[in-house]
């Protein structure tokens, strides 16, 4: 009796649709938060862009001295100074991210190919959980390994006194370097790539691979031409995610990159790899205490806006690159 009554009272459409409505509302909520964040960051960033124009992105002067001037002008309440030329920071971000993603892409592709197509199942059962675990290690841990092991090794063994002396008036080659940053960043982002690449390769229809093998095409060529080709959207998705992590990495890079607003110069030859720099995200971290100075606050938000914009562009490029591949590919 009671049960029947309850059934009568509750309209069916509600019990059917409440999950849908709830999830929809949550999704809209997330969208609203993202939108509010973008508006907030861009508004806070605007004064810095407005005062510098396109020079904001260009080179000129020492960016560290500019940061200090900006901070002091706000801290002492005097007339605000705004001059900020972020080129060394942008260049450093680009170099570390691009190098790490490039190296990581090829390593991850081969590792994923091995795990999915070649490895015996006993090896696979060990490798996959280990890689998942690596993907979730906090970046401070990587930073500490860098500071305690990799940086001293580079500083004490790979850089010669002659090389150090040749640039001694500009920078110190003490191991805190582009090479250390790229190396650790590569290790950090590879597990994400491998995990996604594996999923992509695994979803290639068996029939396609077997058909190719059946036609007498050798294994290597089959996997290269059929499996990898079909899994391209997954490769792009993995690369985009890994690039996003590399772009936003702050703690580890602030620890090992040398934290100097210097643009490593490829024309310096090989020592270019050992030159220190400081990417954008690390700059926000190392100057976070200076938020109390109004012009500095706007400058830091401008850096944040650039990072936000790059991340958005990255997703967009990833999406656009996937479009022409949709026809003969598995979905990622």
């Amino acid at each position: 009796m009671d049960d029947a009554l309850l059934f009568e009272e509750r309209p069916h459409w509600w019990s059917d649709r409440r999950a849908e409505l709830m999830l929809g509302a949550l999704a809209c909520g997330v969208l609203a938060v993202v939108l509010a964040m973008v508006v907030f960051v861009v508004t806070a960033a605007w004064p810095s862009f407005a005062h510098n124009g396109l020079h904001w992105f260009g080179p000129g002067g020492s960016v560290d001295n500019q940061i200090r001037t900006i901070f002091l002008s706000g801290d002492q309440g005097g007339p605000f100074r705004w001059q900020f030329h972020a080129w060394p920071l942008l260049w450093s971000t680009f170099l570390t991210t691009a190098a790490a993603v490039l190296i990581s892409f090829f390593c991850s592709l081969f590792v994923a190919l091995f795990i999915v197509e070649f490895a015996p199942s006993s090896v696979r059962q060990v490798l996959e959980p280990v890689i998942r675990l690596l993907a979730s290690v906090p970046s401070v841990i990587y930073g500490l390994i860098g500071v305690l092991v990799i940086v001293p090794f580079i500083g004490n063994h790979l850089v010669s006194q002659h090389e150090k002396r040749s640039v001694a008036y500009v920078i110190s080659l003490n191991g805190y370097s582009l090479a250390a940053a790229v190396l650790i960043l590569t290790v950090m982002i590879s597990p994400i790539m491998i995990a996604i690449f594996c999923d992509g390769l695994r979803s290639v229809p068996r029939g396609w691979v077997e058909a190719s093998l059946g036609l007498g095409v050798n294994r290597w060529r089959t996997f290269w031409k059929i499996a990898v080709r079909t899994a391209r959207p997954a490769l792009i998705a993995g690369t985009v995610l890994a690039t996003a992590r590399a772009l936003g990495e702050a703690v580890m890079l602030a620890m090992v990159s040398g934290s100097v607003g210097f643009a490593p110069n490829p024309f310096d030859g090989l020592i270019f790899l050992f030159e220190p720099s400081r990417p954008l995200a690390a700059t926000i971290l190392s100057n976070s205490e200076e938020l109390s100075s109004p012009p500095m606050k706007h400058t830091l938000y401008a850096i944040a806006a650039v990072l936000l914009f790059s991340a958005a562009m990255l997703s967009l490029i990833g999406w656009a690159a996937k479009q022409p591949m949709k026809k003969y590919a598995v979905r990622a």
Binding site: I67, G155, A168, S172, V251, M255, S259, E289
Partner: protein, 280 residues
């Protein structure tokens, strides 16, 4: 049903927390990160003696802390530099002393540097140990320092570099501990660390202008990189309870021991030893 239980549990937790703190006073402070390692044990010990008093301290930097006091957001601030004209409306109280030591790798034979030499190294004018007599090295100098977040950075830049920014040859690190680590790992390094960091394996404090960096020289204000750690209060309507805390930190034997243990130098505290030596 489960959701309701969860919500109830949440409400109950909040309800239980409120009466527990109702009889107590929470003193809200902010400011220097350099002072934080000293303040935390001091807070803990003071709360033990006065169970009704609790502290909340946000290490947002000394200058930010003073602004918090000016705006009434904090009841007190800790500061590692002397008062400036921009600190209007606040009162500074000296709590105790701290020294900043220049340090090199233990493999370095150097024992003494002049302030001018330190300045030259950190401004990029002196880049080789060959130019520093007594080091026994001819390699390039690897100078390390703090990033701009550190109160230590501000103190170093204002007292040694005359407020000029350090040269691009100086590698800026995230924390004082990382500076000590880098100096220990790199035989050609030089860095700076608070007194609390010594003695430590692999790093060696240097004399500055011939004065050793130790508690005695700091206490007698003979060591050049000596600084007071200050407590900043609003000049009008300062909290009586914060004043009492400041008095306790400045004068009690117990606080003196805590400060010394944390690596600072008690400046005013009556210690049992000192009483013994007092002339009558």
């Amino acid at each position: 049903m489960k959701l309701k239980t969860l919500a109830l549990a949440g409400v109950a937790t909040v309800a239980m927390a409120v009466p527990a703190s109702a009889g107590a006073t929470t003193l809200i402070g902010s400011g220097s990160t350099a002072a934080q390692p000293y303040l935390l044990p001091l807070f803990k010990s003071y709360s033990k003696i006065h169970p009704s008093i609790h502290f909340v301290y946000t290490a947002d930097g000394g200058n930010a802390g003073v602004k918090d006091v000016q705006q009434g957001k904090s009841q007190f601030a800790a500061q590692a530099r002397a008062p400036l004209p921009s600190d209007a409306g606040t009162t500074y109280i000296k709590l105790f002393l701290d020294g900043l030591c220049m340090d090199v790798n233990s493999a370095n034979k150097l024992t003494n540097l002049s302030i001018q030499q330190v300045r030259d190294i950190y401004l990029g004018n002196l880049t080789s140990w060959a130019g520093v007599p007594g080091s026994g090295l001819s390699a390039t100098i690897d100078p390390f320092g703090r990033d701009t977040n550190g109160g230590t950075y501000n103190f170093f830049v204002s007292s040694i570099l005359n407020n000029k920014p350090p040269a691009s040859t100086v590698t800026a690190l995230l924390s004082d501990g990382l500076v000590a680590n880098s100096v220990a790992k790199d035989p050609n390094a030089i860095g700076y660390n608070g007194l609390a960091y010594f003695p430590r394996k692999g790093i060696k404090p240097l004399k500055l202008n011939g004065v050793p960096c130790n508690a005695l020289a700091v206490k007698k204000l003979r060591y050049p990189l000596t600084r007071y750690i200050w407590l900043v209060l609003p000049t009008a309507n300062s909290s009586r309870k914060v004043e009492q805390f400041a008095d306790w930190v400045r004068t009690s034997v117990k606080a003196g021991q805590i400060i010394a243990k944390a690596g600072g130098v008690p400046a005013f505290n009556d210690t049992a030893k000192k009483k013994h030596h007092k002339k009558k």
